[in-house]
């Protein structure tokens, strides 16, 4: 008994040493990079939300179509508007086995919370989905166009009340305030409440407690088709493909557009090969039928934008948002 155990122990020790040794000797990455172990797809939101759903879809698509050779797990790091997820990445600099799907609020949050270093913590990979938003009113509202709204607000800034979600100072909030500015009304006099979700805003509007929601156009389709709501205008530069009948607010004379987008990023310090690898895989993943289908259902448009354009886009967003947030005095000292 004793001798057999001793031999087994020896074997285990040797294997252990081999394992550790292999770790040290593991190839440091050739010209082409591929993941060599489990990849974590980190989500800056809790399980069950729409971002989480999209992340899981992508992970599923990648696994089903064998777009990578290793496994991929979805890890939730919710909190602080994606800041937790980004902090988590900070501990894995240069490692291509961690990619993160962030909601667009991450840019605003970083500025609001005075955390400018956030932008250095990530390497943009791709901008994936866009959630088109719009000004939504009840079907029986006297407002028919954005101009009607503008006129009404000029007469009385508190005449029409807005609801936005999900956090104060985010893109939706800024859109309303910017709109007020463009109309020539003191933004401080406009009545805006902040809800946890678009659903609450819609319920309050339908119940007559307020008049305008800034919500997603895709996921309110059923209410529109049922004749309960109308879209005053979409908050984009161009009309939304598939919803061309909704005029943009911009085309009606007020240059306000918001981008609510999901970005995929990698930790800082990853090599260009890693970036190239992932942008490739992601492009394939979002072309799969399941992801395309789901995005359609949820009213999201798919963007296939590469890393460089994404990086430029983020820088631009950061500048614009900084300016606005500073103007409106949201930034906390």
């Amino acid at each position: 008994m004793r001798t057999i155990r001793k031999a087994a122990l020896m074997k285990a020790a040797l294997l252990g040493a081999m394992a550790l040794g292999l770790l040290v000797v593991a190839p440091a990455g050739a010209a082409e990079w591929k993941p060599s172990r489990n990849v974590e797809l980190v989500v800056g939101a809790g399980a069950g939300g729409s971002i989480d759903a999209q992340a899981r879809l992508i992970a599923q698509a990648i696994e089903r179509h064998k777009l990578i050779d290793t496994t991929m797990t979805v890890v939730n790091k919710p909190g602080a508007g994606s800041s937790q997820a980004i902090s988590y990445l900070g501990g894995h600099a240069g490692d291509g086995h961690y990619i993160t799907l962030l909601a667009s609020s991450w840019i605003g949050t970083a500025i609001l919370m005075n955390k400018p270093n956030t932008f250095k913590e990530v390497t943009p990979l791709a901008r994936l989905f866009d959630v088109p938003l719009g000004f939504i009113v009840k079907a029986d509202s006297p407002l028919k166009t954005t101009k009607d709204l503008a006129e009404a607000l000029k007469k009385d800034p508190g005449a029409y009340r807005f609801a936005i979600s999900t956090t104060a100072g985010n893109n939706n909030h800024l859109a309303v305030l910017r709109f007020a500015q463009l109309v020539g009304v003191d933004p401080k006099k406009v009545r805006v409440i902040v809800n946890d979700s678009g659903a609450t805003s819609l319920t309050q509007m339908l119940g007559g407690h307020l008049e305008i929601c800034v919500c997603g156009i895709g996921d309110t389709q059923s209410l529109a088709k049922a004749g309960q709501i109308r879209y005053l205008g979409s908050l984009r530069d161009e009309p939304i493909p598939g919803f061309e009948n909704i005029p943009t607010v911009k085309s009606q004379g007020y240059d306000v557009s918001i981008a609510t987008f999901y970005t995929m990023v990698a930790p800082k310090g990853v090599s260009p090969e890693i970036v190239g690898y992932w942008t490739d895989v992601l492009a394939k993943a979002i072309a799969t039928p399941e992801v395309k289908n789901a995005a359609e259902q949820l009213g999201m448009t798919i963007e296939r934008v590469d890393a460089a354009t994404t990086a430029a886009f983020i820088t631009n967003e950061r500048e614009v948002t900084s300016k606005r947030l500073g103007e409106f005095g949201f930034v906390q000292k």
Binding site: G48, P78, G79, G158, T167, I193, Q221
Partner: protein, 503 residues
């Protein structure tokens, strides 16, 4: 006419062997997940979603609904057995349910929980089917001002729980409310009381506080008792099932809890927790033996359990009738429906009656399956209580840690969990009443938010609270609730004085 046709067809669908299998799997899985503190139906649904992609939509929904109900029940089981609320809405069940278990009546507590949930669940599914459209109008009429009135009313209703020390209760409620303010202010985004920690920016997640206070607090208490040598061997007294006396006492609370829970559940944002608290307070007020509450009164389990199950069904109303989710879970389910290309909403009942009734019926079947599955499990669950303390308590600790870690993978949260555990122990020692604290925690956010939103909408005009009939009504009733305990004794003593004079 055709509705009956669809109802029958719905049952046909719901009773297909394959769908029955799905209900079974769903409720079983849900029960297991519900047992894990902190992991609830949302996580379960999120995990199961990929599995459901290839399935028929109705079957997928049946599976997920089964899981939803299962999780509710699992959460109640742990609340009763080890004072660990598996679900936020099982917190109130801990109060009397655990005390019943300590007195050897765990079986009855589990049974009343199962039966209460079943009866209330069934009634509310019927309510859902019959009243969906009318109820959604009710839901719509509740705006910020009305919610404020409701919150004040809840405070008034729960003031009955102040027990021996109103002073402690006030401190408890305010403590709960203070904890609820930690995080980002909803209307302005300012950070409040986050101590510079990014982890606190979203506030302290509910499960952390609930499990810390209830489960860990109790573990520390039990370990202390053990080290003092006060080992209590819990003998099962009476039968594992409910006696006739139990039924007599529980019938009323179950029906009342069901009604309260259902109507509160219809209101978006109000969930099982508030419903169970109000039900508990109602039963205390109506009981002829209010001092029994907190020591293992079966009404204290029957009512809240019925309420939280009914609230779960009620939360489907806005989702199905308007396509607007009223809770996190229904939001996730809505996402699933949309994935399948089904847009719930005002047109769903007309456009897709087959699905609507299939879903409604599967909710009913889910309730039945839950009962069938869990009644036999009671015997098994109760055996857990026979586990030696020295083994059970460490396991509860690990359980709690898993539950919290699995959702957010954040070690800082675990540290807070531990801190609340210590607090929970201290609170029990100083006899700080837990129910008001929980209420303050649950209400605090909504109370402040609805007040401020109402003021924003009215442009700073406070008369909005009085102009709304619902709000005004609720405020007046609350005033009455607060004043009655003070005024009645005064009136009575005056009567006595007068009759003494006249004599």
């Amino acid at each position: 006419m055709s509705a009956i046709h669809y109802i029958l067809q719905g049952f046909e669908t719901a009773l297909l062997p394959l769908n029955l299998l799905y209900v079974f799997v769903g409720t079983l899985l849900g029960t297991i997940l519900g047992i894990l503190p902190g992991i609830g139906p949302v996580a379960g649904i999120a995990l199961l979603m990929p599995v459901t992609y290839g399935m028929d939509p109705t079957s997928a929904l049946i599976l997920l609904c089964g899981m939803y109900y299962g999780a509710q029940y699992g959460g109640s089981a742990t609340a009763i057995l080890i004072n660990t609320p598996g679900e936020a809405s099982s917190m109130i069940t801990c109060i009397d349910g655990y005390q019943m278990a300590r007195k050897g009546r765990a079986g009855a507590a589990l049974a009343v929980s199962a039966w209460g949930s079943f009866i209330a669940g069934t009634l509310s599914v019927i309510g859902l089917a019959a009243l969906a459209t009318a109820l959604s109008k009710l839901a719509l009429s509740f705006g910020p001002a009305e919610y404020f009135g409701l919150m004040i009313f809840s405070l008034a209703a729960v003031s009955a729980l102040s027990g021996k020390s109103p002073g402690m209760s006030i401190i408890a409620v305010v403590t709960g409310m203070m904890i609820a303010t930690i995080g980002l202010d909803s209307q302005t985004g300012s950070t409040r009381f986050t101590l510079g920690l990014q982890d606190l920016e979203n506030g302290l997640a509910f499960p952390i506080i609930a499990i810390g206070l209830f489960a860990l607090g109790e573990v520390f208490l039990t370990l202390e008792e053990k080290s003092q040598g006060k080992t209590e061997i819990i003998k099962l007294s009476g039968s594992t099932w409910m006696t006739r006396e139990d039924w007599r006492r529980s019938a009323g609370p179950i029906v009342r809890g069901g009604v309260i829970g259902f109507f509160l559940g219809v209101l978006p944002g109000i969930g099982g927790v508030l419903a169970s608290i109000i039900s508990y307070a109602t039963e205390v007020r109506l009981s002829k033996r209010p001092q029994e509450f907190g020591q293992g009164a079966i009404e204290g389990v029957a009512g809240p359990e019925a309420a939280n199950n009914a609230a779960a069904s009620g939360s489907f109303v806005p989702m199905l009738a308007m396509g607007i989710p009223g809770s996190v879970t229904t939001a996730v389910l809505l996402g699933v429906l949309i994935m399948f290309g089904i847009q719930p909403g005002p047109r769903m009942i007309d456009d897709n009656p087959g699905l609507f009734w299939g879903l409604v019926n599967s909710m009913y079947v889910g309730n039945v399956m839950l009962l069938i599955l869990n009644l036999p499990l009671i015997g098994l669950f109760v055996r857990i209580l026979y586990t030696p303390t020295g083994i059970l308590m460490p396991l509860v600790l690990v359980f709690s840690v898993i539950g919290i870690y699995a959702t957010d993978t954040n070690v800082v949260e675990l540290e807070f969990l531990l801190a609340f555990g210590v607090l929970g122990y201290i609170f029990k020692k100083i006899e700080m009443p837990i129910a008001p604290l929980v209420l303050g925690l649950v209400l605090g956010d909504t109370l402040e938010k609805s007040f401020r939103q109402a003021l924003i909408l009215s442009g700073g005009d406070p008369s909005i609270f009085v102009k709304s009939p619902i709000c005004l009504g609720l405020l007046l009733v609350s005033l009455a609730c607060f004043l009655l305990p003070v005024v009645l004794p005064l009136l009575r003593s005056r009567e006595i004085a007068e009759s003494a004079e006249n004599a």
